[in-house]
């Protein structure tokens, strides 16, 4: 199976070493010895040694030859046959201090030219790698909260490569927050009846995964299936992009018309992390019938940063507070929820026939890794033009895709459990019920990689593929975080988050420009 072919990392390294050793990449000195009479006329050669028949040597910075002359000229040093300096006509600094050497060609035995192969390229490559590594390391040393984080991550074959498709239950930071998470595998491309997903733990976290089922939904030609926040699936056709999409920075339509790598995002507010912004949308030629608004988005790393910062402030007490929340301390749970509410989701407003803006729904799925696609059912307006607004916290969301579609019919999924779960390390503990028995969850640690195999009922089938995962994860405390322990700030964070968001804005701005890049470069990504 193409997408699950596993090549051990050690073998790749070995292969690379063998290639490198055999590709002629070694530093090589090429010494050319030339007959003086064959040297090109009117040419100039640098760093040349002129071996004379009497054993003496001219070591020249450059050598000039003339077609009509039987001498060659040059500047450098003249050694006698015992290699004592007789004369030099150029200073080390390159200043000419004496007349040019005029060397009679009949007295020349050989011309020697040296060149070095493969030294410069390797030096440049090593410098570039070192500078990049040093830069990223320095950044992560200064801003450890911007590095080494994620959630359960799922990869699959997209027809060209194994790519990141989904992240599971990002908001389930404790077992009490455990919940189902449905992610559309937008670009998954099954190659036969056995479909595979690669599950990785690329963070300093413990992931407890109770289930990771595939939901197969039938789809017709020219339609796709999308899921609402309540877990209902609709076949959707006549999918159209907005005619206009305007954000505070101006037109952003190009960034949201396709589920590609282009995303619309903004930077956070310098004075308040919960400042809001509005994106205006207009759809033309709106068809009649049931309509749905489609949005593909993910969060920026602001939530990750704030989550890590809160753990840092709690420091050695983090475990105590976590256990209190797990034990059912409602007041603490409310404080955590309050922070989430303040940051908010993407609120969707629609202008009704009276011209008033009405809030329809809010997308609030956490997670900065993989864009997920959501469907929001729209009320019938009877108008050919639809005006909508998205209200969101500045710097918190990356919007990948916006569209309108006609809801054809509701469809029910076929649920497929993994038939096989194989650890990359070759450990198959409890293989019979791994990811099939919720009471016996799969627990993964940093660097763990599992391949999940699913048997589809037929192939090729016209399906939309979703992943439904359930579980929670525990973030590991880091030593530098403990140094930031500050219960006063923790109290401010959970007690008066609206004030904290103002006070933390400036600090966050300092790391925000490079946070995304550093995060991606610091994860333990291992593809097939």
């Amino acid at each position: 199976m193409k997408q699950t072919k596993i090549v051990p990392g050690g073998f790749i390294l070995f292969l690379f070493a063998v290639i490198l050793m055999n590709c002629g990449c070694a530093t090589t000195l090429i010494r050319g010895m030339h007959d003086p009479h064959l040297i090109n006329s009117y040419s100039s050669v640098k760093n040349v040694k002129v071996h004379m028949k009497d054993g003496s040597l001219f070591m020249l910075d450059s050598l000039i030859t003339y077609e009509t002359s039987d001498t060659i000229d040059g500047y450098g040093i003249y050694y006698d046959k015992y290699r004592d300096i007789v004369k030099f006509n150029i200073h080390k600094s390159g200043i000419v201090i004496d007349s040019v050497f005029k060397i009679a060609l009949p007295d020349v035995a050989l011309l020697e030219v040296n060149s070095i192969k493969n030294l410069r390229g390797k030096a440049i490559a090593m410098t570039l790698i070192s500078v990049a590594s040093l830069g990223l390391t320095t950044y992560c040393l200064i801003n450890p909260k911007a590095c080494f984080g994620s959630c359960p991550t799922f990869y699959s074959w997209d027809g060209n490569d194994t790519t990141l498709m989904a992240e599971g239950f990002s908001s389930s930071i404790l077992s009490i927050y455990e919940k189902d998470d449905i992610d559309m595998l937008w670009s998954a491309c099954p190659t036969d009846k056995i479909f595979s997903l690669r599950l990785t733990n690329e963070a300093l976290e413990t992931h407890t995964i109770r289930s990771a089922n595939i939901l197969l939904l039938p789809r017709e030609a020219d339609s796709r299936v999308f899921a609402t926040e309540t877990g209902d699936f609709f076949q959707t056709s006549h999918i159209q992009s907005p005619a206009l999409c305007t954000a505070p920075e101006g037109d952003c339509l190009e960034k949201v018309i396709a589920m590609d790598k282009m995303e619309r995002y903004s930077e956070s507010d310098r004075n308040n992390l919960i400042s809001k912004e509005i994106i205006e949308l207009t759809f033309d030629n709106v068809p009649e019938g049931d309509l749905g608004f489609i949005i593909g988005c993910r969060q920026t790393l602001m939530t990750t940063y704030l989550f890590y910062q809160s753990l840092a402030y709690l420091g050695s007490s983090a475990g105590y507070f976590a256990s209190r929340i797990e034990s059912g301390d409602k007041s603490l749970q409310k404080r955590v929820d309050r922070v989430r509410e303040l940051l908010g989701g993407i609120e969707l407003f629609i202008r009704n026939s009276d011209g008033k803006w009405v809030k329809l729904n809010e997308i609030a799925e956490n997670g900065p890794i993989a864009s997920d696609i959501h469907l929001i059912r729209l009320p019938r307006t009877g108008s050919k033009e639809l005006n909508m607004r998205l209200r969101l916290t500045k710097g918190l969301w990356r919007i990948n895709y916006l569209a309108l579609g006609t809801l054809m019919k509701q469809v029910n999924p076929t649920i497929i459990e993994p038939s096989l779960v194989i650890s990359e390390k070759g450990i198959t503990t409890n293989p019979e019920c791994l990811l099939r028995d919720p009471q016996n969850p799969l627990v993964t640690l940093p660097g763990d990689v599992y391949d999940l195999y699913y048997s589809f009922p037929d192939f090729p089938g016209n399906y939309e593929i979703f992943l439904k995962s359930r579980g929670y994860y525990i973030e590991w405390m880091r030593e530098p975080w403990l140094r930031e322990e500050n219960h006063l700030k923790a109290a401010l964070f959970f007690g008066m988050p609206w004030l904290f968001m103002k006070m933390a804005a400036d600090d966050f701005k300092k790391t925000e420009p490079v946070m995304e890049e550093s995060f991606w470069n610091s994860r333990y990504v291992r593809k097939n």
């Binding site: 390294l13 690379f16 070493a17 490198l20 050793m21 055999n22 590709c23 002629g24 990449c25 070694a26 530093t27 090589t28 000195l29 010494r31 010895m33 760093n47 040694k49 071996h51 028949k53 009497d54 054993g55 040597l57 070591m59 040093i77 050694y79 046959k81 015992y82 290699r83 035995a109 050989l110 020697e112 040296n114 070095i116 030294l119 390797k122 490559a125 090593m126 790698i129 070192s130 590594s133 040093l134 990223l136 390391t137 320095t138 992560c140 040393l141 450890p144 590095c147 080494f148 300093l204 940093p446 660097g447 590991w476 880091r478 030593e479 530098p480 470069n521 610091s522 333990y524």
Partner: protein, 188 residues
């Protein structure tokens, strides 16, 4: 000792051992970097194992500057004497063209890797900082391994013919007429 410290110690050890693969004892004046070779006005340093007569029972090891080479004789200037050697009696020879670079790349990789080791020890990221620095350390090691194919050292009879040594002699054109060998001296 924690697993993490063991891994880091292992990496250090490997790089240090790898960095220790140095060339034999070559006088400073003949230990040239690849770039310095084009400014050298001497022959390359050569280590020769020489068997006199028809048998190698009387084996002689000598080192010096390769002065010249003709069809049947190699001329070497040692610390004490100018020695003509019959080529057919040379058992083995090692010519030091330039300083092997095998140690430089791993050492560069190690130096660039130090911040990652510091980061890992200070932060306990479960290998995160080590992984960040892995490419630079890995490339250092691989570049070092690639240098095993370099022509920094020519070995006779294993990898080179003796004829290839000619152009690395002080007088590649052959011994000049009228040379007073007593006046020849090594470069300090």
């Amino acid at each position: 000792m924690s697993e993490r410290i063991k891994i880091l110690t292992g990496i250090f050890g490997f790089l240090i051992l790898f960095g220790g693969c140095r060339s034999a004892l070559v006088p400073a004046g003949y230990k040239l970097s690849p770039r310095e070779v084009s400014n050298s006005f001497t022959g390359s340093w050569i280590d020769i194992s020489y068997g006199t007569g028809d048998t190698a029972a009387l084996k002689l090891n000598l080192s010096g500057e390769l002065i010249a080479l003709n069809e049947d004789t190699a001329y070497v200037l040692t610390e004490t004497a100018f020695v003509p050697l019959t080529v057919k009696n040379i058992i083995s020879a090692k010519l030091h063209v330039f300083n092997p670079q095998a140690a430089i790349w791993p050492v560069s990789g190690l130096l660039s890797f130090i911040p990652n080791i510091v980061g890992e020890i200070a932060n306990s990221t479960g290998g995160g900082f080590v992984l960040l620095g892995a490419p630079v350390a890995g490339f250092g090691i691989l570049f070092g391994l690639a240098e095993t194919r370099s022509n920094a050292t020519l070995k006779y009879p294993d990898k080179s013919s003796f004829d290839e040594f000619v152009k690395f002699a002080r007088y590649p054109q052959g011994l000049p007429a009228g040379l007073e060998t007593g006046k020849l001296h090594l470069i300090k």
